[in-house]
């Protein structure tokens, strides 16, 4: 065989291993995808009124790929909906009460309960599209606000299609209070809510607060009622079962469900069952499959149950078996739109589990369950959910680091994302100060943060930080600065093809051709940046205020501290910690563009501003020499070059400072900065015009906090140093936000590095790689993900996708199956990896 073939054989795509027949079956069955006879596809349920609305399109405003389909989704889901017989008093209740009742009715009495063959965990079907339960009046009002002339949809489209980015109040992206509900049961939660209700005055009881609490009490009985159904089903199946072992399992599952999740959990099996049922019903409540609804520090709060069961004689492999069943369930979230086919969003869900990390006083919290879970991940990989995140810190034990590096080395799209505690905690301490919540986030509590979704840092059980709700292209401010607050070109609507002349959108910051100094250009850019941030904030207010009025999620509200206490739904801002994250996109492209303008026009006089603008408007055609200078001769962020990185830090400081100035009006949530760019930097590359860094329109933008593709010519250590610097680096005097660390992004920033597999080829090299990770913990960012893949393999996968169906790659903060992401993203990954020189 040829050398290439031989190499391919030795670098085989990772396969799952050590799976029992049961798990092997369940896992393979899951991967049959749309060919399965059973799936967890959306079922739709209506009140039956002709004004009923089911699909809440606002939750998809942060998924621009769906824009052309929003109308279709809405109509077809409604057409496919089955009516639910309403309680006779239904229309006399408040909206949250209607919603709570309807979702419970659907999940308990309408959606079938099923147990997959051999499954040890109950809770199969949970993806639903339920009626919004609006009265005719409510629907009319809400529809006007969303679909009317200056409605949210129109505003969202304008914002996105003009290249600003996207924004929308969306679901999930939080860590519900799972630890608590396992400990005190839903019974305990119910009692707390009821006690709260009893303390209300008679007037309050009849008013909004009372309605909300009543709704939450209704919602709190949903898991109990559903568990009862499943217990009955398991009993029935047990009676029919002839295989002795399976019969016993089903009987135990029935027994589990008679207790949990209403009562506190005692055994590991009960705990995992309670966790799953509680979690899946959130997705039912929000009508959205798995969007960053995360489990938090699962190896910590499940540990007591694990230990107890181990002490009582549970077989360790059986404990893992239970977890593997749980794993399969998490993936079925993707069944929601299973027949719509492969598209860039099918990696999207991010039900994160967090392993290890620091505890109080810097202690390391790795435990026996951490290792058991790592084994589960290793044995089940490649599989997308639940997405694992490992927290590393200065005192991470060598044994854990060894295991982590081993797993990265043998898996292509590294199975997890690595979070770095000190840097992350520094960001949370900044948030505590700036949001005025030091009573909730402080030196005693900050170690209990955990990431959600992909990598966004939040607290657990009391925090909604809206971590993907606002995604802003910093680069738009460059275009506006270059054209005195106007787009370069007239606008053509991408769906209707309707044309619109250029308008004065941003402030008039001056004709850049008349600027005589770099500082003048910087000031123009700064003012346009303030403008685009204000646009994003205003747009978010639109969807946020509509959601607050019309889209309560009383079930989820039970699980987030602050809601019951205040009598507010989580959608009304009830969470104790209520923030809205502004995720900046196109950071490196923006920095490199500013560096290029300074270098080409003001420092080296390679061209006039007029020539540069002409070149950009021509998409560099006829200006190849200038483009080459922009690409190759101008300084770039990511090379550990102090001057370039200083510009990057300046850009960072500007937009972060501006972001902190804002709060939402309807829900009083504090805006905070972050840098997660999902996949927007690929598609928005087709919207934003050519940029001064040498990028033509149609080419991808930079992602998250990573340097531009090809810019980081000094390798991973330099790349890392640059990232750490722009986050704030270390405080020389021992000050800093946490220990010496500074971090201006409490949300964290996605950072991806592609490593050639040869770097981990043997134990000696893996030792070196561990050293790199320890160095990263000092010099780098809040999180890191590694692509351990070579360009050859990716190109082969493009040619023969059928051979690479389970090939996972890391995009930015999340894993995806390479063969299912769009062609543009595939090409970007190949280009990215080809550039990494080692």
């Amino acid at each position: 065989m040829s050398m290439a073939e031989a190499l391919r054989v030795t670098r085989r795509i990772k396969e799952p291993k050590n799976l029992s027949a049961r798990i092997e079956w369940l896992r393979s069955y899951y991967f049959e995808g749309a060919r399965r006879a059973w799936n967890n596809e959306f079922t739709a349920w209506t009140t039956g009124t002709d004004w009923d609305v089911l699909f809440d399109e606002m939750t998809f405003y942060i998924v621009p790929e769906t824009y052309p389909f929003l109308q279709t989704f809405g109509s077809s889901i409604k057409q496919a909906a089955r009516p639910v017989r309403l309680h006779p008093d239904f229309w006399t209740w408040s909206l949250p009460e209607r919603k709570a009742w309807f979702v419970r009715e659907v999940m308990v009495n309408y959606v079938p309960q099923e147990v997959l063959p051999g499954d040890l965990i109950c809770g199969a079907r949970f993806n639903v599209q339920t009626s919004t339960c609006w009265t005719r009046k409510e629907a009319g009002e809400r529809n006007r606000l969303v679909h009317g002339k200056n409605g949210v949809r129109a505003a969202m489209k304008w914002f996105h299609d003009h290249g600003y980015g996207n924004s929308g109040a969306t679901s999930g992206h939080l860590i519900p209070g799972y630890e608590r509900v396992l400990k005190i049961g839903w019974k305990g939660l119910y009692e707390e809510i009821e006690q709260g209700f009893q303390t209300l005055s008679p007037r309050e009881k009849r008013g909004r607060k009372g309605s909300q609490l009543k709704a939450m009490m209704t919602a709190a009985t949903m898991p109990r009622d559903l568990a009862a159904r499943y217990a009955a089903l398991c009993d029935k199946l047990a009676a029919q079962e002839t295989v002795f072992v399976r019969k016993a399992e089903l009987k135990q599952m029935a027994a589990n469900l008679v207790r949990v999740p209403w009562e506190p959990a005692r055994t590991f099996w009960e705990a995992v069952q309670a966790l799953w049922l509680t979690h899946m019903l959130i997705m039912s409540d929000e009508n959205y499959p798995g969007p960053g609804v995360s489990f938090g520090r699962i190896d910590q709060y499940l540990l007591p149950y694990w230990q107890r069961s181990m002490d009582e004689g549970m077989d360790r492999e059986f404990g893992k078996e239970i977890m593997k069943c749980f794993w399969v369930h998490a993936n079925t979230a993707y069944d929601a739109m299973i027949r719509i086919g492969n598209n860039g969003i099918t990696a999207g869900y991010g039900q994160l589990i967090t392993l290890s990390g620091m505890g109080a006083l810097g202690a390391d919290m790795t435990n026996e369950l951490t290792y058991a879970m790592l084994e589960v991940i290793d044995e089940m990989t490649p599989i997308l959910e639940p997405k694992p995140n490992v927290r590393l810190h200065r005192n991470t034990p060598d044994a854990l680091l060894d295991k982590v590096v081993d797993m990265i080395a043998t898996s292509q799209g590294s199975p997890f994302l690595i979070n770095f505690d000190e840097r992350s905690m520094a960001g949370m301490m900044v948030e505590a100060r700036k949001a005025g919540v030091t009573h909730l986030i402080n030196e005693e509590t900050v170690h209990d943060y955990a990431p959600v979704g992909c990598l966004e840092n939040t607290m657990q059980g009391n925090d909604r930080s809206g971590t993907v709700d606002n995604n802003l292209n910093l680069l738009k401010a460059v275009e506006l600065a270059l054209n005195d607050g106007r787009d370069f070109f007239d606008f053509t609507d991408p769906i209707t093809f309707k044309k619109e002349k250029v308008k004065q959108a941003g402030p008039k910051t001056g004709d850049p051709k008349r600027f005589t100094s770099w500082e003048e250009f910087w000031e123009a850019y700064a003012e346009q940046t303030r403008y685009i941030i204000s646009c994003c904030v205003a747009l978010y207010e639109q969807s946020e205020s509509v959601r607050a009025r019309f889209c309560p999620t009383p079930y989820l509200s039970c699980l987030v501290k602050g809601c019951a206490e205040q009598g507010l739904d989580i959608t009304e801002g009830g969470a104790e910690l209520g923030l809205a994250t502004l995720e900046a996109v196109t950071f490196a492209t923006t920095v490199d563009s500013l560096l290029a303008v300074k270098h080409l026009v003001f420092d080296n006089h390679e061209c006039t501003m007029e020539e540069l603008i002409r070149a950009l408007k021509a998409n560099w055609e006829g200006h190849e020499i200038l483009q080459a200078k922009a690409r190759y001769k101008a300084p770039k962020y990511g090379r550990d070059d102090d001057e370039a990185d200083a510009m990057a830090a300046r850009v960072m400081e500007l937009w972060c400072t501006e972001t902190w100035k804002y709060k939402t009006i309807s829900t009083n949530r504090q805006f905070r900065p972050g840098m997660l760019s999902w996949n927007y930097w690929v598609s928005d590359g087709f919207i934003l015009p050519a940029s001064p860094d040498g990028r033509p329109k149609g080419r991808f933008l930079s992602n998250a906090i990573c340097p531009s593709n090809g810019a980081d010519i000094n390798g991973p250590t330099a790349n890392t140093n640059s990232v750490g610097k722009v986050l704030g680096g270390m405080a020389a005097d021992g000050g800093g936000d946490y220990l010496g660390y500074r971090n201006c992004l409490p949300n964290g920033a996605s950072h991806t590095i592609s490593i050639n597999p040869s770097l981990l080829k043997d134990p000696e090299h893996r030792e070196k790689f561990k050293a790199f990770l320890r160095g990263y913990a000092e010099n780098g960012g809040t999180c890191l993900q590694l692509n351990m893949i070579d360009a050859e393999t990716l190109k082969d996968a493009q040619q023969r996708p059928e051979d690479y169906r389970s090939l996972l790659v890391r995009i930015t903060g999340y894993n995806a199956y390479f063969t299912s992401v769009g062609r543009e993203l595939q090409n970007e990954l190949i280009a990215r990896i080809s550039h990494e020189a080692l």
Partner: protein, 133 residues
């Protein structure tokens, strides 16, 4: 204040995150100029102590600015790209300055001792780890 004269050297390359041929993660400094002339040399461009130009085809955009600017007519364009006549080249580096895409590169750059050390120490944190060395 009188500035001390800095020691200088011609450096071929500073390779950060070197993982081969030695323990831990290191930054390797490749000096230009070697007294040997091994027939198996893997870096023959490092043998001569002087700065040498060379053409990197993958970055060339074919603008021919280098050919036009060379005072010794040492550069010519052909079907294999840009050819460099080393007997004519004086190393004036005008081609390097004028090339818009860094396709004309110099083997060898002068570093002062202080600058070199500070560049190398940028990765100090990766060396100082006891496991790395």
């Amino acid at each position: 204040m009188k500035k001390e004269k800095d020691t200088t050297a011609t450096i071929l390359r500073i390779q950060r995150m070197s993982t081969e041929d030695g323990p831990g993660i290191r930054s390797t400094v490749f000096f230009k100029g070697c007294p040997l002339n091994c027939i198996w040399c893997h870096n023959p461009e490092s043998i001569s102590p002087g700065v040498q130009l060379h053409w990197v085809g993958s970055r060339c955009i074919g603008c021919l600015s280098c050919v036009a600017v060379c005072p010794e007519n040492a550069l010519s364009a052909g079907k294999n790209g840009i050819a460099l006549d080393r007997s004519a080249c004086t190393g004036c580096q005008r081609c390097l300055e004028v090339c818009p895409s860094t396709a004309m590169e110099a083997y060898g750059q002068s570093y002062g001792l202080v600058g070199l050390v500070s560049e190398v120490l940028k990765d100090r944190i990766y060396f100082e780890n006891p496991a790395a060395g």
